[in-house]
Amino acid sequence: MLTNKPNAGKKSMTFQGKNVLRFAVLVFCVSFFLVGTACRYDMQDQPRYKAYKESEFFSDGKAMRDFPEGTVARGQLNENKALHTGKKENADPNAQVETTTDELGNTIVSSFPNAIEKMPINVTKETLDRGEQRYKIFCMVCHGPVGKGDGMVVRRGYPQPTTYHDDRLRNAPVGHFFDVITNGWGKMNGYASQIPVEDRWAIVAYIRALQVSQNPEIKSGEADSTDKAAEDNKNETEQTGEAETQEPAADNGGAN
């Protein structure tokens, strides 16, 4: 070993040969350790493209390629016009629309001759739940939790969108809402790249539900029973605008 006395090597040549061998093994081990750890990074950064990786091959530097224009993926011909555009089969792009001008000078469209009136998908409880979830992801930031146009981004200074709860939009056909989500409207950008078609229709269904929730039709008989319930301090009605206004009264009753 290294601590052998200096005269040890002189005694026999074979012992010195062993020393050289041991030294060679040591050098091999150390260099294997150094080289071996470097190998690790070759395997970590393999010469293939991951999502969003930069490319030196393509002139625009993107490894993820855009589809050539006009590409139709299998099963995505989108030939169902009502489903994919929200417009009627015989839609006329030059159809005249009625407009008014609001106090800010914005042009407000109040007739939608090309938009379909009927939902092209079956609306179930699941559709509405999905629509609620997607509305809260994509729409609520501006349109607010119930669609009054008071979302957080608007409070930060984005131009306020119109409320869903006026007669113009309550009477607007479903196809109009779908078209706005798909292609944008006014200051709003289109969301076609962020929301798939089925989800857009689910959101439209949920917007309709929101409109009903803020403007419930109360038949005279039901209204009577609701009033009676309020008098009895039993607030078991559905969560509607009516019910909300009665809550303080009910709370006061409970406090007595």
Binding site: N7, A8, Q46, A51, R156
Partner: protein, 219 residues
């Protein structure tokens, strides 16, 4: 066994045997610690990004859902880096003239992607898919930490294999209801151990043997 020391070996030579064991052990211990250190794993390392984008502002202050920008997290391996178009949904109006946003404006103007610095970089030999994790009850913050508190995003965990396995061996310790996946405030103690074990059954999470099989992650 042949004689270990030459007859001329002194006490220092004999002590070197003990020293070799101690040194070797220390070196191995040091190696395990360095390998887990943030120097090698990049844990807690904040990177300089081309835009001073703050998740704390967009998620924490504005309450924007993760999926508004990371649209493919439920359907694909990659959660999705939003195109500049998504930024412009709001920033065509808000802070549109701010010099902080000039790289975003330039990207939109020239139709060139923003060159974000990757924070979570898995090795090429590891397969990872976001969609299956969120579908089986693994929330964002379980791996990414409280993004809504991060002005600039850093890697909350080591992303080393032993860290992956800590959950793949016992997923019931970390899963949550699907309605809470995107809840940044969620804590593992919000459910009892029994409730989490029930979730594991409900979500049909596979056996420990399958989850820790080599080919689950190394394909």
């Amino acid at each position: 066994m042949a004689q270990l020391f030459h007859p001329g070996a002194n006490n220092i030579a004999k002590a070197s045997l003990v020293l070799a064991v101690i040194l070797g052990g220390s070196a191995f211990y040091a190696y395990t610690q360095i390998a887990r250190s943030s120097y090698l794993t990049n844990q807690y390392l904040e990177k300089q990004q081309p835009v001073q984008f703050s998740h704390r502002h967009h998620v924490g202050d504005d309450g924007i859902d993760c999926r508004y920008c990371h649209t493919s997290v439920e359907n694909a391996a990659s959660a999705g880096i939003p195109p500049t178009q998504t930024c412009m949904n709001c920033h065509n109006q808000l802070w549109a003239d701010s010099p902080y946003l000039e790289p975003v404006q330039a990207s939109f103007r020239d139709n060139k992607p923003i060159k974000w610095e990757r924070v979570h970089d898995l090795p090429g030999y590891a397969y990872f898919n976001h969609s299956i994790h969120v579908a089986k009850g693994v929330g964002c913050s379980t791996c990414h930490g409280q993004i809504d508190n991060m002005a600039s995003v850093y890697q909350e965990n080591t992303l080393q294999m032993e860290w992956c396995l800590s959950c793949h061996r016992n997923p019931e310790q970390f899963i949550r209801p699907k309605s809470e996946i995107y809840n940044m405030e969620w804590s593992d103690s919000d459910l009892t151990a029994e409730e989490r074990s029930k979730l594991k059954v409900d979500y049909k999470i596979r056996s420990r043997e399958l989850l820790t099989s080599c080919s689950t992650c190394h394909r």
